[in-house]
């Protein structure tokens, strides 16, 4: 009886670096199957796993997943992309940011797959992998071996607790594991297979591949297949729980907020240059009657600190680049990961307080009536600055796609943000000179702020849509 496929790649051709790694490769992963991918270093094992996950651009072919009788096109060579159904994924580098705690990471892996776990379940799962005593530690504090155990557990757990057959993709899971953890891994793989989940394991570990039902070997871009030993006894797994709807994007936004609350490097990193800019402007301009000379200059100086805070590189970019964390999120969330990150990683809250602080510090020579009018309406350009911050973050994320993003001059792309900034300067200058007006002429402050927001929105759209096409 043919096995119903959970996921398949059809005729894919994938290039990595300057070379063609896979050519015309087709693989089916069926329910209840354990498939091992073997081959020398650089033969394309990781490429096959990542192609299945839909995170690699394809030169030809397509990746299709099946969920409850429905076929979902996860990615094809024409650039079409959809989020895959809930899955378990362990990337070669782990895909975990060092900022997360152990239990939190496991809970995130489960919630992304639509499984809302209790503390006891989390503790039980961690206990089975010898991680319970470390549950509240940050991942950065774990040894390499423990971190590997955690990333494997996070890859297996969504299937372990799922009632529906799931795909589990494991890239070099036995790397860095001790013998007892490797035995646990083999037992869990066999147990998952008996529960009808499909498991694809890239490994060069012959011992681990002995538990596979099929062995695929990649040599010179060509795939050959042999029958595996299916050896190993299934372990006793925790009982599955009822899963709800997959909420990858909301998990992703909650995750990025939690990371910032734990270590507010983003806020500090943006607020510091903004405050320095306010103090510098104050020191340089304190004896200068800005309003009577040039309201545009005053407006530019007031908005500049918030602008600096908005275009600074977001801490999220470095969090995502840690251990391929961004790739993991990209795989589980699909094409919506980039827009979501550009919003959650942007400096949304800072522009308003920074702009007000800047006005209070720099408006010493402005007469009280004007100052009171500006204070009433200053939130409008400050609010439009939030759009600018989101667009800037999208540009930073675009650059972070490069494999050596730290070597790429991202600020050169941010030159475009000067235009919305100048529009906001015009708007504030108009409020200082004429008070707030509600006309709809092109020089009225409200319309100018809307234009600034639209320009930022255009930048944002270009930066989030083009790369994922």
């Amino acid at each position: 009886m043919p096995i119903s496929p959970l996921a398949q790649v059809k005729g894919i051709e994938v290039h990595r670096g300057p070379s063609k790694v896979l050519e015309g490769v087709s693989v089916n992963l069926g329910a209840g199957e354990v498939v091992s991918v073997m081959g020398n270093n650089g033969s394309g094992k990781t490429t096959l796993i990542e192609a299945f996950a839909g995170i690699l651009p394809l030169r030809s072919g397509e990746v299709i997943w099946h969920e409850r009788g429905e076929s979902i096109l996860v990615r094809d060579s024409d650039g079409r992309r959809n989020p895959p159904p809930p899955m378990g994924l362990t990337l070669q580098k782990g895909g975990i940011s060092g900022e997360e705690t152990v239990s939190e990471r496991l809970a995130v892996s489960l919630s992304v797959a639509g499984i809302h776990s209790h503390e006891e379940q989390i503790a039980d799962l961690l206990g089975q992998w010898g991680l319970r005593h470390r549950s509240e530690d940050r991942v950065a504090h774990l040894s390499g071996g423990l971190r590997r155990r955690l990333s494997i557990l996070c890859g297996l757990a969504p299937a372990v607790l799922s009632e529906t057959p799931r795909v589990v993709l494991l890239d070099e899971p036995s790397e860095g594991l001790d013998d007892s953890a490797k035995e646990t891994l083999k037992g869990w793989i066999r147990a998952l297979s008996s529960r009808n989940h499909g498991i694809l394991v890239a490994t060069h570990d012959k011992d681990l591949s002995s538990c596979a039902d099929r062995i695929l070997t990649i040599e010179d871009r060509i795939l050959s297949e042999s029958t595996g030993e299916s050896s190993g006894d299934p372990s006793q797994l925790p009982e599955p729980v009822q899963s709800s709807e997959q909420r990858a994007i909301s998990s992703l936004i909650r995750w990025s907020i939690r990371m910032e609350l734990r270590n507010p490097i983003e806020t500090v990193g943006r607020a510091t240059p903004a405050i320095v800019a306010i103090l510098l402007s104050y020191a340089l301009m304190m004896d200068y009657d800005l309003q009577s000379h040039d309201s545009r200059l005053l407006a530019a100086l007031v908005l500049a600190p918030a602008f600096i805070a908005s275009i600074s590189s977001p801490a999220l970019v470095s969090r995502l680049s840690e251990s391929d964390c961004g790739r993991w999120w990209d795989a589980v969330s699909g094409p919506m990961a980039r827009p979501a990150f550009s919003i959650s990683g942007a400096s949304i809250l800072l522009p308003i307080p920074v702009t007000y602080l800047s006005w209070l510090v720099l408006s010493g020579s402005v007469d009280d009536q004007v100052s009171s009018e500006v204070l009433t309406w200053l939130w409008i350009p400050a609010l439009a600055m939030m759009d600018l911050a989101i667009a800037s973050t999208a540009l930073h994320l675009l650059v972070s796609d490069l494999s050596r993003s730290s070597a790429a001059p991202a600020p050169l792309l941010l030159v475009v943000m000067v235009w919305p900034f100048l529009e906001l300067t015009d708007a504030l200058s108009s409020i200082i000179d004429n008070g707030m007006t509600w006309g709809l002429s092109i020089h009225d402050p409200l319309v100018t702020c809307i234009v600034a927001s639209l320009l930022s929105a255009l930048v944002w759209l270009s930066a989030v849509l083009i790369p994922d096409y």
């Binding site: 300057p18 796609d401 050169l412 792309l413 475009v416 529009e423 092109i442 270009s462 790369p467």
Partner: protein, 237 residues
């Protein structure tokens, strides 16, 4: 292939020579413009290079855009070579525009840069996109994902500029006026047009020569890389 390279070198040298002649003609042959219509009549001579720089940079950015589209749609190697060449030449000619423009602007307008000038800003943005691409092409390992991201940046720059420029033009009009149009209104001396035309042809020849030269360098680099990979394989065996 060697003949192709030789032709490219010759065309580039001819272009360079003609561009130099344009400068000489601009400085010593072309008549002075009407001193009543210009704040700094003598400084206008820089336009004999500034305007052809702008045309050539526009051609380069078109090459970059077409290459980015071609890479995105067809993953074509030729498309990628256009991205590489377009960004390098776009940077070269774009810098020519954004350097010569402010030199002239500082004496004619009294300020080197006007953030309200759409053309200046457009070229500054496109040149910074080109600089980003050139620096990234040198610092990033060549590969499918790198090419995808850089082609996205190429598209991003090209798509964004006209839209942003149009939006900004609608809302802003601080520029003192388009120089050539002003000159046409007051009547352009045919000798000025002749030198300007010669300059345009010279830079066009230079542009073609540099495209061919860069294409030949691109192919040589690819050949070297493939030979290196063969040596790597032999070493591994």
């Amino acid at each position: 292939m060697s003949d192709f390279r030789d032709s490219a070198v010759i065309i580039t040298l001819v272009g360079l020579l003609c561009a130099t002649i344009t400068a000489f003609l601009g400085f010593f042959q072309a008549p002075l413009v009407d001193p009543d219509s210009w704040n700094a009549p003598g400084a206008y001579r820089i336009l004999y290079w500034h305007v052809p720089f702008a045309w050539s940079s526009f051609l380069s950015f078109c090459l970059l855009f077409l290459g980015s589209v071609s890479w995105y749609v067809k993953r074509s190697e030729r498309g990628w070579s256009m991205v590489v060449i377009g960004s390098e030449l776009g940077l070269l000619f774009g810098l020519g525009v954004v350097i010569s423009g402010p030199i002239w602007g500082s004496v004619e307008w009294g300020v080197p840069w006007d953030w309200g000038d759409v053309r200046l800003n457009t070229y500054a943005l496109l040149s910074s996109v080109a600089l980003f691409l050139v620096m990234s092409l040198r610092s990033q390992p060549d590969g499918e994902e790198t090419r995808d991201t850089l082609a996205a940046v190429g598209l991003f720059g090209f798509i964004l500029v006209p839209i942003t420029a149009a939006a900004t033009t609608l809302w802003r009009n601080r520029h003192p006026g388009v120089i050539l149009r002003e000159s046409e209104e007051t009547g352009v001396d045919p000798e000025i047009l002749q030198v300007m035309g010669f300059g345009a042809i010279s830079f066009m020849v230079l542009f073609i020569g540099l495209v061919l030269l860069n294409y030949s360098i691109y192919n040589l680099r690819a050949e070297l890389e493939s030979l290196n990979r063969e040596i790597d394989k032999e070493g591994a065996n």
